[in-house]
Each structure stands twice: as structure tokens, then as C-alpha cells.
């Protein structure tokens, strides 16, 4: 997108106008946003929004990340049917035209997947879906699992089109792209005043204070540590508690591994190829036809998860593939906390060096 020097621009929208705005975009296509989990009140989920009043902009981190808007947990890639040659029908993704209410950490994760999936040769399914969606971000209030600030993503704006920060008289709206400006176009907004900016700034400061958990080294040093030392005992210790259930990968906003499989339809003449999220913690993730399982030992798979997020992908894409959202720690069936374990690695690496 061309850089527009007038951006970002600012305005204020009232809570009532947010409802009208949401109702307006709901009328134009599928919209995804955070709402209360019907099965578990008190928890939130990104789902297809049907009524504007269901949108919850003040929410705690969802169980599943919003990447599913562009990369669903399962999807059809193409359909096939017998023929001479066989008929292959590609199936396009069905992304929401607007993804509402994305926290900065999850914006940062979408940025991570933009980089990974755009790296040549690109995954065009991701790009296709991303190019058709407008993203509206919203600022958050952290909980004890959040450590986004030490990964530098607590104020992330990329790649959102609009960003909302709650203030006394509604939301301060940052317009980051022309598409965002057009989306906002018909909403009732008012000029942002000095007081509005002060309130937004105050809220940002409060949020920063609320993020108590911190990674005890910057991501660059962490990558160096992981590269330099084996940390075998730590991996084995984590593995002794881990069940290899894959919940960490399933809830991660920056994980992007997948597997593909076919299903036959009942006629046995046609069927479809499906793509589904996969987890590197599962035993057969790296198994080959001959039966050899690369990373057969659990500690190897545990190490792989850390190496991939904080070393390999960091080196390749210039950023860790962790946003500090804390989802994996919340979801872990064995209470393995990604931050505590990572800080243990950092402590082991810096022990006796006089610079913890």
C-alpha cells in the first residue's frame, strides 16, 4: 500500500457511534470480532459477528487467536472429482471483510505470519485472504500471563487499518491506512482534542504498568543464547512435565504449521483436500515414510518449539515468533509457562557472567 503522509490521522468515536458503525459494516459482508464465549461466559472468542451488540471491545485475551480469520483451523484447499483428466476446483478462502477488535499482540502475530507466508515462494492462500480484509485494532488490558512489552509489541499497530483506544468519551481512533479511512468514512466521529490524546496516553501508561511479567533478555540475546548452548537439562525438565498435547501450538497466534489430507465424498468419485493446523509437539510431526521419527524424544520437540520461535524464525525474519500473549501458558495442560521457562534459559546462560 502506498504511504500516505497524512496518516496516521486521529478522531474520536462515541460508544453509540461504534454500534452504528458496526451495524453498518455488518450489512456489507462477513465480520469477525471478539464476543463472549457462549459455552464459557467470562471468556471471549473471535467469531462471526451477527449482531452489533455482541461485539465486546473490552475483553481479555481469547483462547484462540484471530489468525483463524485468514488461516482457519481446517479448510478445503480444492475439490476433485473423477474425470479424464480429473476435475480440480480450487476453493478460495472465506475471510471476513472486516476483522474487528484485534489486540496489539495479535496484530504483531498477523505481521509475523505476513512475513513467513510471504517469504518466497509465498503461500498465496494467506495473501489472498489478507488482501481482502480490513483490520481494526483495539488496545487491551493485560493480565498476569502477558509479557508483550518485553518483546516490543505492546504498542504494535502493524498491520491494522484502524486502531481504537478507550477514552472517557468513547474511543480515540487512529487511522493508519486509506482503507481504514474509507471504512470509517460514514461513521459519526468528532475531532480529537488535546484531552483525548492525554487520556489515551494515560491509558497506555497504565497498561504498561500492568504488564508485570518480563522476558529477562531482549530477543536478540535470547537467540544468541539458544544458539550457543544446548540447555539439555532444561529441555528434559520441561519434557518431563509436558504431555505433548499440542495446546501451545493450537492457541499460538504466531504458529503456522499445517498438514494436508484428503477426504472422499460418499460417492467415492469425488472429494476434497483439507488443510488443518498441525503441532510440532506431536510425536509424528516429523515422521517419514520409512518410519524414522526425527525428534522422537519429547525433549527434542520441546527444544524445537523454543528454537523455532526464538532462534530459527528470529534469524530468518528478524523477529521472534512469540508475541508475549501468554495463550500457550494459559492453555498448557501441565502448567508450563513459556515466560518462566524462557527466563530460566536466560538465567542459565547468564549465570556467573555478571550481567543477568
Amino acid at each position: 500500500m502506498m504511504r500516505d503522509r497524512s496518516l496516521p490521522s486521529y478522531c474520536v468515536i462515541s460508544p453509540g457511534s461504534v454500534l452504528d458503525f458496526t451495524a453498518g459494516i455488518l450489512g456489507k459482508g462477513p465480520v469477525m470480532g471478539p464476543m463472549v464465549r457462549p459455552d464459557q461466559p467470562g471468556f471471549h472468542v473471535f467469531d462471526r459477528l451477527r449482531r452489533p451488540e455482541d461485539l465486546v471491545l473490552e475483553y481479555t485475551t481469547t483462547t484462540m487467536p484471530p489468525k483463524k480469520a485468514f488461516f482457519p483451523p481446517t479448510e478445503t484447499v480444492f475439490r476433485f472429482s473423477a474425470g479424464d483428466p480429473p476435475n480440480l476446483t480450487p476453493v478460495r478462502g472465506d475471510p471476513p471483510w472486516v476483522l474487528l477488535g484485534v489486540h496489539p499482540c495479535d496484530l504483531s502475530a498477523i505481521d509475523a505470519l505476513d512475513r513467513a507466508y510471504s517469504f518466497p515462494p509465498p503461500d498465496r492462500r494467506w495473501r489472498h485472504n489478507r488482501d481482502r480484509s480490513i483490520i481494526v485494532g483495539v488496545d487491551c488490558m493485560p493480565d498476569e500471563y502477558c509479557f508483550c512489552d518485553s518483546l516490543g509489541v505492546s504498542q504494535a499497530r502493524r498491520p491494522c487499518d484502524l486502531f481504537l483506544t478507550e477514552i472517557e468519551r468513547g474511543y480515540l481512533v487512529e487511522t493508519h491506512t486509506r482503507a481504514g479511512g474509507e471504512l470509517l468514512g460514514e461513521a459519526r466521529t468528532s475531532n480529537a482534542l488535546g484531552q483525548d490524546f492525554l487520556e489515551a496516553e494515560h491509558r497506555r501508561r497504565q497498561k504498561a504498568l500492568g504488564i508485570q511479567a518480563r522476558l529477562s533478555a531482549d530477543p536478540g540475546r535470547l537467540a544468541d543464547f539458544l544458539e550457543a548452548e544446548p540447555f539439555q537439562e532444561i529441555w528434559e525438565d520441561i519434557a518431563a512435565r509436558c504431555y505433548s498435547c499440542g495446546s501451545c501450538n493450537t492457541t499460538c497466534p504466531a504458529c503456522f504449521c499445517f498438514t494436508m489430507d484428503d477426504v472422499f465424498h460418499w460417492d467415492l468419485q469425488s472429494g476434497e483436500r483439507r488443510r488443518a493446523w498441525d503441532s510440532c509437539q506431536l510425536l509424528d510431526f516429523a515422521a517419514v515414510a520409512g518410519g524414522h521419527r526425527f525428534r522422537e524424544d519429547r525433549w527434542q520437540r520441546v527444544r524445537h518449539r523454543w528454537h523455532r520461535k526464538f532462534l530459527h524464525l528470529y534469524r530468518r525474519f528478524g523477529r521472534p515468533f512469540c508475541t508475549g500473549c501468554g495463550r500457550c501458558s494459559r492453555a498448557c495442560t501441565a502448567d508450563i509457562n513459556i515466560l518462566d521457562e524462557t527466563n530460566r534459559i536466560i538465567a542459565a546462560a547468564t549465570k556467573g557472567r555478571g550481567h543477568a
Binding site: F80, P90, P121, F258, M260, D278, V288, F294, H312, R315
Partner: protein
């Protein structure tokens, strides 16, 4: 948009959509089948020796298979499949005229440029002969551009010898030095017995001008490397083709990651000297001696 749509008729934005290909012939043996394929539009696959394709059996799934024919032969290409899983079993039982799907070719093949004007040593264990057959054919089809062609092939037992006709032709051919060995002989076997390092010990190589291409099971590589290094070969002239789980072929699905590399894109052929730096390249770990 050149990456995926390099051949006509491939919509570039359908990253995971295969092209139909027809089975022209299938030769089934006890433990493997060699399948000759032609793309629906009859275009050449455009591969290099050592590359692989993702093969779809619609309704069963998709698997990676290395290409065992040389691009110098015809517009068609051949795959050697050993029934090991769901998809490979279906492929093994397929018939002439059946349709499959093809994506690729993917990966970095053998260093045919580095090999030019040098001696080529191909070391194959088991089904590792399939990708090396592509290289052997390629070198034989461009014979004047290469020095000696030495082929060392080890099969577990005589019944598991792949490409028998080729192996016999290479044994007779004056342009190939062929060393065939089996791990376990049977009563009919009169040839050499033992693992591939046996013949390697005997071969008199001009180590300064030889480039080695090695494909086999993980356990074979390090013993071959140790033997080649003992002979004085440069670790930068030894190339391993690694087997990993490939699903997407384009460095996205994550299954083939090996340290910081995606084997499907950055490999499957690697220099031994590079692999030594990868803790997860189990094939390159020096044997305990």
C-alpha cells in the same frame, strides 16, 4: 508471478493445487514400482537431478517422491515408489492411464555444475538409488562434461535391488564404474557382500577432483562421510540428500525444518560441511570410534 506458475496452464495463485498427470506406464516389482508420468498438458517437468515432486492420489493424499529419471531423457518423468503408507500403497497399485496430481519440482538438487569436469561418485543405500539414478543418467547423457562416474550401491538383500536393468547396464557399461553390494546374501548371490563402505575403501579416488553425492538411510551417511574423509576428500565436495517429512514443498508447513533450514527448499541436497553445523542433522554426526 514466476514462483509457482513457471509452466503454462498453472494458475499462479493456487499454491497447493496440483497439475493432473497421467500414468503412462507402471512396472511393479516385489518391493517397488517405477511409474512413468506425463503432465496433462504434455509439458516437461523441468526438473534437475535430485529434486522431488509432491504426488497426489486424489482421495488418499499427497506424498513427496524424488524423481528418478533425468531431464535429459524425455518430457515424461519417472518415480520409484515403495509402498510404505496409505498414499504410496494406493500409488503402487495404480494402473496405466490413471491420473495423479503433481506439484513441483521442489528443492535444490545435486550440484551438477560443481560436478562438471570433475569425477562423480554416487553412493546409494536402499531406495536412495532412485534420486541418484536421475544424476547417473544425467551424467551419462552429458558424458564428455564429466570425469569418472563411480556408482556404489548397497541393497539390504538381492531381492531388494532396485532398477536391475539399469544396474546391469551400468555394470557392463564402460563409462560407469559400478560397485554393487548386498548386506545379506542369499544362496543365489555371487556378488559382493557387506555395507557400502566396503567398496568405498577399495576405490582409488582422485580425491581432489571428486564430488560425492550420497543418498541413503540416516544411519548410512555418517559412515560414508567418515570413509570419504579418511580417503582425503574435501568436506565441501561431499553432498548428502536428506529425507525429511515434506508436505507443502515451499517452506511453509514446518514439517521438514532442520535447525534454521527448510529441507524442502534449502535442501534436500546439502554440503556435508554445512550439515556439520546443524545439531539436528543426525545424518552428519561423526561415528563414535
Amino acid at each position: 508471478m514466476p514462483e509457482t506458475g513457471k509452466r503454462a496452464g498453472v494458475p499462479a495463485d493456487w499454491t497447493y493445487l496440483p497439475e493432473p498427470a497421467r500414468i503412462v506406464s507402471i512396472r511393479r516389482e516385489a518391493v517397488d514400482a517405477v511409474i512413468e508420468l506425463e503432465l496433462a498438458d504434455r509439458s516437461a517437468l523441468g526438473h534437475k537431478p535430485g529434486q522431488f515432486v509432491q504426488v497426489s492420489m486424489f482421495g488418499f493424499g499427497e506424498i513427496p517422491i524424488s524423481i528418478c529419471s533425468s531431464p535429459t531423457r524425455t518430457g515424461r518423468f519417472k518415480l520409484c515408489v515403495r509402498p510404505a503408507g496409505h498414499v504410496s500403497n494406493a500409488l503402487y497399485r495404480a494402473s496405466e492411464g490413471d491420473w495423479v496430481g503433481i506439484r513441483g519440482p521442489f528443492g535444490r538438487g545435486f550440484p551438477i555444475r560443481t560436478m562438471r569436469n570433475r569425477d562423480v561418485l554416487a553412493v546409494a543405500g536402499g531406495i536412495g538409488l532412485a534420486p541418484l539414478r536421475s544424476l547417473i543418467q544425467y551424467v551419462r547423457d552429458n558424458r564428455e562434461a564429466y570425469g569418472r562416474l563411480v556408482v556404489v550401491y548397497g541393497a539390504r538383500n538381492p531381492s531388494l535391488i532396485l532398477f536391475r536393468t539399469d544396474v546391469e547396464a551400468w555394470t557392463r557399461g564402460e563409462d560407469v564404474e559400478m560397485f554393487l553390494t548386498v548386506d545379506e546374501a542369499d544362496e543365489s548371490w555371487t556378488g559382493r557382500t557387506g555395507v557400502v563402505t566396503g567398496p568405498l575403501k577399495e576405490i582409488d579416488l582422485s580425491t581432489r577432483s571428486t564430488v560425492a553425492a550420497v543418498v541413503g538411510p540416516p544411519v548410512m551417511f555418517r559412515f560414508v562421510a567418515a570413509e570419504l574423509l579418511a580417503k582425503g576428500m574435501n568436506r565441501r565436495r561431499i553432498f548428502f540428500s536428506l529425507e525429511r517429512r515434506f508436505e507443502c514443498g515451499i517452506g511453509k508447513c514446518g514439517h521438514c525444518q532442520l535447525n534454521g533450514m527448510y529441507v524442502c527448499q534449502d535442501g534436500p541436497v546439502f554440503r556435508y560441511s554445512d550439515l556439520e553445523g546443524f545439531s539436528e542433522a543426525v545424518e552428519a554426526r561423526a561415528p563414535e570410534r
